[in-house]
Structures are given as structure tokens and as C-alpha cells.
């Protein structure tokens, strides 16, 4: 279970020191508009610990080489480092086999791999695909493109006013034509943690294949793909303390093996001739061309960072921030929190009556506070709430309640100013 009771929270938090954590993040120690930076845009991208930055530096000053086919020492080192990250990912998400871990360029790329390769091969006219109304565009548009091409039908699980999926509707939607269910594990706009285990079981009963969009989940929750029993799991390194340009698609071997390749090129082949080209084994079949070696190597340090701090400590600290923020924000006159699911990751979206969301962002930036404003790539969700966008503060392990106080103070000034 990914949810922590207040009791275990206290226990796990004893050895956790947020100030020590902050020291590991060089970017935090700067002034923005003459005030200390407060970075609350973690759902967009997290900051990187020094170990990750140093790993990049070390890679390019010591080991840089193209991988897999090289015989020389640098190529050996680079290959070993690259594959070490694959192993670490396998362990982080508890995949059964290391070959089930495919490196992509991000969650978006991972989902497109599935729609292009699995989708175009196994989803036919009249088949149904289920997503939800709280999906990120990256888990909407690829399915729209696929369904349009194939004449398949895209069905959308509605959300409640609190920002939870309407499970009864989902159950009604599922039928023997349901071939795929693609669902966000934790919503980037609302923070909602969806009851994915139950949803996966229900989908499997109908023989449907399930992908989880883990972009917002992987840095915050304990992920066990075997326990979840999802068929695919997609996420981005840059949202979990790693560099930009690296993502992962986990897939069950059985599915990956029967899927055609995604992109063609170097690495993904066994033999090329103009008469007959044969493809490589997984995971390489899906990794055409020179991969993002440097960043993948450095990503290992992000995973190690998470493991060192401990998933539990992270979850507890972020849960405290979330609870604190919810309470504090509700005191701001005219402020309304969008997304009040019972289980949430540390994301708070809100609107303030009569204040344009973009203005909130700009005025907070003037106080050194970085939040995100807009539709957060979830326009259909905004349409449901009949709003154009929200202001969103999303917290990470290095944020503090004092920073939340500053946020609230800033918002209070804005509200006063706007009257």
C-alpha cells in the first residue's frame, strides 16, 4: 500500500532531516528577485541532487564513449554504467527481469512506444480503449491518434467533484471489447492517487492490457510492478531527481516480445540486409540509435538518492507538507482547492476568486516562489471544472513548512492587492 497512516508517519520520520537534504540540492541555494528561491514546481520537474550533477560531470570527463558495440576501455566503462542504471531501475520498481526495463526519453515517449508498437499491432477497429478524464495530454493524444487511425473507440472515466475517478462508471465501461486501459497512477493536476490495483484487476478480468502513467508516482510512492500487476509502467527520470531526456517503459516480457519495434536504426537489430532484417532481443529491440548515455548513467544517482532517503521518509515528509498546505491555504480568502481526493501525492491545485491564475504565478515569482499555472497539460480536466487553469504548488522532499508559510503570505498579499 502506498498510503501512510499518521502513526507510521511519525515513526519513520525520526531520522529525517530536511535541512540535510536541502544541502544536497545546489539549485535551491540562490536568490530569485532578491529572496531565497522557493521551488514548488516539482510536478513539472524536480531539482537534482549534487550526486546526479557530479555523475554527469564525471561521465563526460572520464568515461564518455558510445556503448554496447565498443571494445575499448571507455566503451566498456560507459556500457557498464549504462546497464547498471537499468538494473537499478529494475530493482526500484521490482520488475521481474532486467530485460523488461526499456529506456526511452520520457513518459511521453514511453506511452507513444506502447500506442505505436502494441497499439497499432493489437488494437483493431471497434475495439475500446479506456482512459480517464484526469489524464495528462501525454496519455490522451497518443490514444486519440491511435483510435483515429484504427477506428477504435476511446472511452473516458469521469471524475467526481473531489477529483476521484468514478469507479462505478469504469466498471460499466469495461466489456469484452475493452482491449486497453491506460490510467494515470497519480494526477499531476489534482494529486489524486488512483485505486490502480483494483482497476488493473478489473481490466484483466476482461482480458484488457493496462498501462500505468507513473510520471507523478515514481518519486513519491513505493512502486512494485509485480504486485500492481500492470502490463506497462511509464515514467520520466526528470521528475524523480534525474536528468531530463531519460524515461522508462516497463513492460511484461510476454507482451514486449510479441510487439514489433518502435523506431528503426542501430542497436535494435540483430542482422541487417536488404533482403531480410532481423530484430534484436528485448530491451534493445526498442532502443534504436545511440541512447542518452550520459543522463542514463547519472540517473543511477537519482535512484540511489531516493533509496538513501527512503521511500517511506519521502512519503511521510511530503504527506506532512500536503496536510499543512491544505490547512494553511484554505485560510486564504477566496481560495479554492481543486482536487480533494482522499489519497493524494503532494500536489495542491487552487484557484482564487477573481484572480487570473497566471497573475498568481507571476506575483509569487516576484517573491522568489516558483509555482506553475495553467492547464498543466490536462485541458479536458479543466473543462470539467469549467476553469481555464489553476495555480499549482507541488512539493518535494526538500521543501519545508516554512516555505509553505511564505507561499500563504504571498497569496494573502495578492488577495489584498486585488481587492
Amino acid at each position: 500500500m502506498s498510503h501512510f497512516s499518521p502513526h507510521s508517519a511519525v515513526a519513520a520520520n525520526a531520522d529525517f532531516d530536511v535541512q540535510e537534504i536541502r544541502k544536497q540540492f545546489p539549485v535551491l541555494h540562490q536568490q530569485v528577485n532578491n529572496r531565497p528561491l522557493i521551488y514548488f514546481d516539482n510536478a513539472a520537474t524536480s531539482q537534482k541532487p549534487a550526486a546526479v550533477i557530479e555523475a554527469l560531470h564525471h561521465y563526460y570527463t572520464h568515461d564518455n564513449a558510445n556503448i554496447h558495440r565498443g571494445i575499448h576501455t571507455l566503451a566498456e566503462r560507459a556500457t557498464a554504467a549504462f546497464e547498471a542504471t537499468r538494473l537499478a531501475v529494475k530493482e526500484l520498481i521490482n520488475a521481474r527481469e532486467v530485460e523488461e526495463v526499456i529506456f526511452t526519453t520520457g513518459t511521453t515517449d514511453s506511452i507513444n512506444l506502447v500506442t505505436s508498437s502494441y497499439g497499432r499491432s493489437f488494437i483493431q477497429q471497434g475495439d475500446e480503449v479506456i482512459i480517464s478524464a484526469m489524464e495528462h495530454h501525454s496519455n490522451i493524444v497518443p490514444w486519440q491518434m491511435l483510435c483515429e487511425e484504427k477506428g477504435a473507440i476511446l472511452r473516458v472515466i469521469p471524475v467526481t467533484e473531489e477529483g476521484e475517478l468514478q469507479l462505478e462508471e469504469y466498471k460499466k465501461m469495461l466489456n469484452e471489447r475493452t482491449k486497453f486501459v491506460s490510467i494515470v497512477y497519480a494526477s499531476n493536476s489534482l494529486g489524486t492517487i488512483n485505486p490502480v490495483e483494483e482497476m488493473i484487476d478489473l481490466a484483466h478480468e476482461q482480458g484488457a492490457v493496462v498501462l500505468l502513467d507513473g510520471a507523478q508516482a515514481t518519486a513519491h510512492l513505493d512502486i512494485d510492478v509485480q504486485q500492481l500487476n500492470c502490463d506497462f509502467y511509464a515514467f520520466s527520470a526528470h521528475k524523480m531527481f534525474g536528468p531530463t531526456g531519460v524515461g522508462v517503459l516497463y513492460g511484461k516480457r510476454r507482451l514486449l516480445e510479441k510487439m514489433p519495434p518502435y523506431r528503426g536504426g542501430g542497436e535494435m537489430i540483430k542482422n541487417v540486409s536488404f533482403e531480410k532484417t532481423t530484430y534484436n532481443d528485448i530491451p534493445y529491440k526498442f532502443e534504436a540509435g545511440t541512447p542518452n548515455i550520459g543522463d542514463t548513467v547519472a540517473f543511477l544517482k537519482a535512484i540511489e538518492f531516493i533509496q538513501q532517503v527512503g521511500k517511506k521518509n519521502i512519503a511521510v515528509h511530503e504527506h506532512q507538507l500536503l496536510t499543512y498546505a491544505h490547512e494553511a491555504l484554505e485560510k486564504v480568502p477566496g481560495l479554492k482547492i481543486i482536487g480533494k481526493a482522499k489519497k493524494k501525492v503532494s500536489v495542491v491545485s487552487f484557484i482564487i476568486e477573481g484572480v487570473f491564475h497566471f497573475d498568481i504565478g507571476q506575483m509569487l515569482d516576484a517573491r522568489g516562489i516558483a509555482i506553475r499555472t495553467g492547464h498543466h497539460c490536462t485541458q479536458p480536466l479543466m473543462d470539467i471544472y469549467q476553469i481555464e487553469g489553476t495555480a499549482r504548488a507541488s512539493f518535494s522532499v526538500y521543501n519545508t513548512t516554512a516555505e509553505i508559510d511564505s507561499l500563504v503570505e504571498g497569496l494573502q498579499r495578492i488577495v489584498k492587492m486585488m481587492k
Partner: protein, 152 residues
Amino acid sequence: MSGTINEIQDEIIEEFAILEGDAEMTNFYIIELGQKLPPLAEKHKVEENTIKGCQSKVWLITAPEGERMTFEADSNSAITKGLVSLLVRIFDHQKASDIVDADLYFIDKIGMNRFIGTQRSNGFAAMIKQIKLLALVYRDSKEIVKTNATDK
């Protein structure tokens, strides 16, 4: 009307100088300017009066006044309203030809882009473009009238 385009620009530059580049004060000042701009009647807040390319909604209407033009504007964003209010202040009651030729040096002088960011700067540029376009059309239509008058 309180002066030429450049006189008003210089006024604005002076006013902003008092804020000493403080981001928050500058934002608040821009909002205050917007609050002073009379709101546009609801009937004018329609698609055809919208300026494309802004994050927020901006409506702008213009009316002729001999060689000169008048402008009114509004926005659903307090900051954008403040920004467009600066343009109304500069261009309202000016000659169409002066508007077309205007060099808006105040933007760089007060370091606007630094306070409002790229997206808003692009929006601001879109507003200016729209005003200049309206002025160009108006000026040319006037010139055609003039030319016609001479012809007779």
C-alpha cells in the same frame, strides 16, 4: 490627452524608475494602473475584439476621432489589464500616423521583459501589433479619402 507619444513614454519611464526594479512592487504598480482603467462594457467582450496571442483574454476596441483614434481595453487578468492600460494611455487620442510610426522605447527602458516574462512579453507585443495594425488601416483609409478629395 496629456502629451505626445514620447512625452507619455517618458512619464512612464519616470514612474517606473521610482520602483527601483523591485519585481513585486512593479507588478503591484502595473495592477494598480489596470484598476484605474475603466472596465469595458460586457457587450464589447466578444471574440472579434480579442487580441490573439495572449495567455489571458484581452479585448480592445477603437473609435475614430478625426485624424486621431481612441482606445478602450480590458482583460480577465489584472496584470494584463495593467499592461494594456499603458498602451491605452500612450495611444488614446493620438494621430493614426503617429501610432504607426511610434517607437516604443519605454519597454526596454523599464526592463519590462524582466518583470513580465517571455510569454507575457509576447502577448504584449501582440497587443502593440494589433494597435498598430488598426492605426495603419485607419491612416490608409484616411489617406484614400484625402486622395479622393484632391481628385475632385
